[in-house]
């Protein structure tokens, strides 16, 4: 498949998805959708950069070319469309995308186990337990959270 046509198809797909989100009244998962948009945009930009811009038909701006039209011109007829849309569809369906997203940034501060100590949920609970067990209370204070990777 010509990469220029693929780039245009991806760009239009992005526009269609944006319009689709705007029309639907359900709350969109903004952060994740942003990431998906970014992926599509980055892929389209990369393909354009590799092969140069696709010339529009005379008198027709690029933005007016629809996905089907672009595919028709590229002679691809939806080949790969399902693959491209799968992550977004999966997101809208509330399940994790089956395809890995290599460009997605890792969580900023992932949750980890707070060590192997059996922590009470708070000082008050620890004091209550201490009253029963006779053990001293160990109260550990920190900036950040003990169950954050960076703390």
């Amino acid at each position: 498949m010509d990469t220029r046509h693929a780039a245009l198809a991806l760009g239009n797909l992005f526009i269609c998805l944006s319009v689709g989100f705007a029309r639907e009244e359900r709350p969109a998962p903004k952060l994740v959708v942003k990431r998906e948009k970014a992926v599509i945009q980055q892929t389209a930009q990369r393909l354009v950069a590799e092969s140069g811009p696709l010339p529009a038909r005379p008198g027709q701006p690029l933005g007016e070319i629809g996905v089907d039209q672009a595919n028709e011109r590229a002679g691809v007829h939806d080949v790969g469309k399902a693959d491209i849309e799968l992550p977004t569809k999966a997101l809208l369906a509330g399940v994790s995308p089956a395809l890995p997203n290599p460009s997605a940034p890792p969580p900023e501060n992932p949750r980890v186990a707070p060590g192997k100590v059996l922590w009470h949920p708070d000082l008050e609970t620890a004091c209550t337990a201490s009253g029963k067990s006779g053990k001293a209370v160990l109260h550990f204070q920190l900036l950040g959270n003990l169950d954050d990777r960076f703390c």
């Binding site: 192997k116 160990l138 109260h139 920190l142 950040g144 960076f150």
Partner: protein
């Protein structure tokens, strides 16, 4: 340190532990572009309180310690917990303890060891996990002997054995400052205040001892951060 099985087991055996975040930790993020981002915490600090069941603070270990010193100090505070609990006037006993410790540290001595209260016959059994945690080489030997008997694989080396030496030197230095300087300030304060809860002392501790003012949005780093910044007045 809390991920070390031996240390965690010892803490679980002798304490009722709880942790609390006093505020979010400052983080420095450098975006190098092209998806390369470096993120580190800045000016993070910790404090360990040992308290009675009514929440009264017995003593505080400020900052980060070497694991062995940390456990030794916790063991000392267990003895203090026992001693104060047996005293007819726990508040007075506690103030006396802080006064004696402050005098010793001000005189250039190490913190005074707390004499062990009479222990039951199971003392050796109770203390063994601590001794093993404090002396990993002994623990390794014991595990090695056990594995020779059982045919198990050799035990895994403790994680800290693989840490760079420079990091441990800095930690040792910080431990010394915690023990000699920061704890002196704490003993003096607690001797004056009498029984307090962690909530009573937290802000003072972080501002005066750990130099991380919780009420300052820049945690006391503002002068350093903005001193040479040309647009600070904009």
């Amino acid at each position: 340190m809390f991920s070390d099985e031996r240390i965690a087991a010892w803490i679980n055996q002798h304490f009722e532990p709880a942790w609390e975040s006093v505020r979010p930790v400052p983080r420095v993020t450098i975006d190098f572009g092209d998806g390369h981002v470096l993120s580190r915490t800045l000016n993070g600090n910790i404090a360990t309180y040992v308290c009675r069941s009514d929440g009264a603070v017995l003593d505080i270990l400020p900052g980060i310690y070497e694991p062995q010193t940390y456990l030794r100090q916790l063991d000392q505070l267990l003895k203090l917990h026992r001693r104060v609990g047996e005293d007819d006037d726990p508040a007075a006993a506690l103030i006396g303890y802080h006064q004696r410790q402050a005098e010793a540290l001000a005189g250039g001595k190490l913190p005074l060891a707390i004499a062990a209260a009479p222990l039951p016959i199971t003392k050796r059994r109770i203390e063994r996990p601590l001794k093993l945690a404090l002396r990993p080489e002994e623990a390794r030997r014991a595990e090695s002997n056990a594995s020779e008997r059982t045919g198990d694989a050799a035990p895994r080396k403790p994680t800290h054995d693989r840490q760079p030496l420079a990091g441990w030197q800095l930690l040792a230095q910080d431990t010394r400052i915690n023990q000699r300087v920061r704890r002196l300030a704490i003993h003096r304060y607690l001797a004056q205040q009498g029984p307090v809860t962690p909530a009573d002392v937290t802000r003072w501790l972080y501002r005066e001892v750990l130099h991380a003012d919780l009420e300052d949005p820049y945690l006391g780093l503002g002068k350093t951060l903005f001193a040479s910044y040309p647009f600070r007045d904009e």
